[in-house]
């Protein structure tokens, strides 16, 4: 009797759980139902859609690369609590993740706009301006997406067995060799997971981009901006482009899952 009761799922969890699933899945299905399937191929192969897609891929990949180059070292420093005020730094670098993206855009303008604290100097001295450039898009995406990589990696650096590193050091390996040959391979799956999350966030970036970098086809109009712009004129185009982004998201999820499983079986 007791065993039976333990095996039956608690009713008070099933109801809310089913509602949660429906709430998250119904809009996606509705999107697919409204799709203009007969004109789908022609819509997503228009030059403007291809421009937006290409721009989105290029900027989000560069943003992810930048986040990896400076974010992975920071994640390691945070995990080992090497820097003074580690807790404060950790809190600060996570803020952009919690901030409404449009606020990130305003903050980026304050820093890198042509009258901004840093941007003003760059503009007056070198004539460099970030807003309305593809570089501006990359800055916005990196700002918003890098915390995802840092958080994922810091967790991985914290949880792995440091005796491998210690052993390598005892055997005479330099810090660079230990980091490159022991640390990075051990957290490899987490790097891929963190980079994928970071990339997906960069790919979907909207608020900071339109606020900081503006909206011009081929230069700063990434896919999410193209969706929003299309919504002003042609709903079918907006839906078709949305489905394309949805497909990319699902593909990331599938690829990531494969990686997680391979990573788990390896270790």
């Amino acid at each position: 009797m007791t065993a039976r009761r333990a095996a039956s799922p608690p009713w008070f969890l099933i109801g809310p759980g089913v509602i949660a699933v429906a709430f998250l899945v119904v809009p996606l299905i509705a999107l697919l139902l409204q799709a203009p399937w007969d004109s789908f191929a022609s819509i997503i192969s228009t030059p403007s859609a291809m421009d937006a897609l290409r721009l989105s891929f290029v900027t989000s990949l560069i943003a992810t690369a930048i986040a990896a180059v400076i974010g992975i070292p920071l994640a390691w420093l945070l995990a080992r609590e090497i820097l003074p005020g580690t807790r404060l730094i950790r809190a600060l670098v996570i803020v952009p993740l919690l901030l409404p993206p449009v606020v990130s855009g305003v903050a980026l303008l304050a820093a890198f706009g042509r009258r901004g604290a840093v941007g003003g100097f760059l503009f007056d001295t070198f004539g460099i301006q970030f807003p309305f450039t593809t570089t501006g898009v990359i800055l916005a995406e990196t700002f918003v997406a890098m915390p995802f990589l840092i958080i994922t990696l810091e967790g991985a650096f914290r949880s792995f067995d440091r005796r491998f590193e210690d052993a390598a050091v005892t055997l005479g390996a330099s810090p660079w060799t230990v980091f490159r040959r022991i640390t990075i391979p051990l957290v490899g799956p987490s790097i891929i997971a963190g980079a994928a999350l970071c990339w997906a966030r960069a790919l979907g970036e909207f608020g900071a981009t339109i606020t900081f970098a503006g909206n011009f086809p081929g230069v700063t109009q990434t896919m999410p901006l193209a969706v929003y712009t299309a919504l002003e004129s042609d709903r079918d185009i907006a839906i078709a482009l949305s489905i394309l982004l949805l497909a990319v998201s699902v593909a990331v999820l599938v690829a990531l899952r494969g990686n997680y499983m391979r990573g788990a079986s390896r270790s």
Binding site: G113, R115, F216, P217, T220, T229, S233
Partner: protein, 265 residues
């Protein structure tokens, strides 16, 4: 040539407007007749074009003084986005757009009652204080190196901007296509662009935060603003009262005038 490009399309619509107005008058409270204050109460939700951001709250304050117990709430944005929301069933009482074309999309979808034209607006060039690029006339916007923000062509300010540039044979390569006119004004006020094409009323609203160049009437294009009650509005009486107030009272028309809007009639 200060004639709206949609005027022809509109004249057909006006014919229908008049007919349905007569019909509405026979059926119930005529939008043209003042509604007794005691019937009008509660919250009125108004979706209004971004260019009405400053003037509508002032009109709403006067409206709420006239009808105590009412509370006007606003949803400002680009007109097509507002129409899109209402067509998708947003619980809105009143829609005011910055062009007849966008309003017509809501009329066609059967989502709003017959609209009234209540204001008219023209375009102007706004520059950051000090006018860093030395803009003096519309053709200066075509100079290489001048950063120009305009509205996307899908929103009314963008359609009118396109018409103005075409009328003056000026070819501008903007750096950004914003989705409502206040976003253009914002980029100008932030001094991130050298110039933006906005409504005359936006320049007035920005006060000393921008400098401006007026576009002479002969080479300007205007857009007219329709307002309508939404079919199935949560607060029908108050929605009618608000539309009537905006269109037919001298106080509302006076406020519109003070903010730089012209009369469409």
């Amino acid at each position: 040539m200060s004639i709206s490009r949609h005027l022809l399309a509109w004249s057909a619509a006006t014919a229908i407007t008049v007919t349905s107005l007569v019909g509405a008058g026979a059926a119930g409270a005529a939008p043209g007749r003042p509604v007794a204050p005691q019937q009008v109460t509660g919250t009125v939700t108004v979706s209004a074009a971004a260019s009405l951001t400053d003037v509508f709250p002032v009109i709403a304050a006067a409206f709420m003084r006239k009808y105590p117990g009412t509370n006007v709430k606003f949803n400002f944005g680009g007109s097509p986005a507002l129409v899109e929301q209402i067509n998708a069933g947003a619980p809105v009482d009143v829609l005011a757009t910055a062009s007849e074309l966008t309003m017509w999309k809501a009329v066609n979808a059967g989502r709003v009652n017959a609209p009234f034209l209540f204001a008219k607006n023209g375009m102007a060039i706004a520059m950051p204080p000090g006018n860093p690029a030395g803009i003096k006339r519309l053709s200066d916007l075509a100079r290489p190196g001048v950063l120009v923000a305009v509205c996307a062509v899908a929103v009314p300010c963008g359609a009118t901007t396109t018409d103005v540039l075409k009328l003056n044979s000026v070819v501008v390569k903007p750096v950004t296509l914003e989705l409502d006119v206040r976003a253009v004004l914002g980029k100008v006020m932030a001094d991130e662009v050298d110039a933006g094409i906005v409504y005359v009323t936006d320049v007035k609203a920005a006060g000393g935060k921008v400098t401006s160049v007026t576009i002479p009437p002969a080479s300007n294009v205007t857009t007219t603003y329709p307002i309508a009650t939404v079919i199935g509005a949560p607060n029908v009486e108050a929605a009618r009262a608000f539309v009537t107030y905006v269109r037919f009272t001298t106080s509302a028309q006076g406020i519109l005038h003070a903010y730089g809007f012209a009369r469409p009639w």
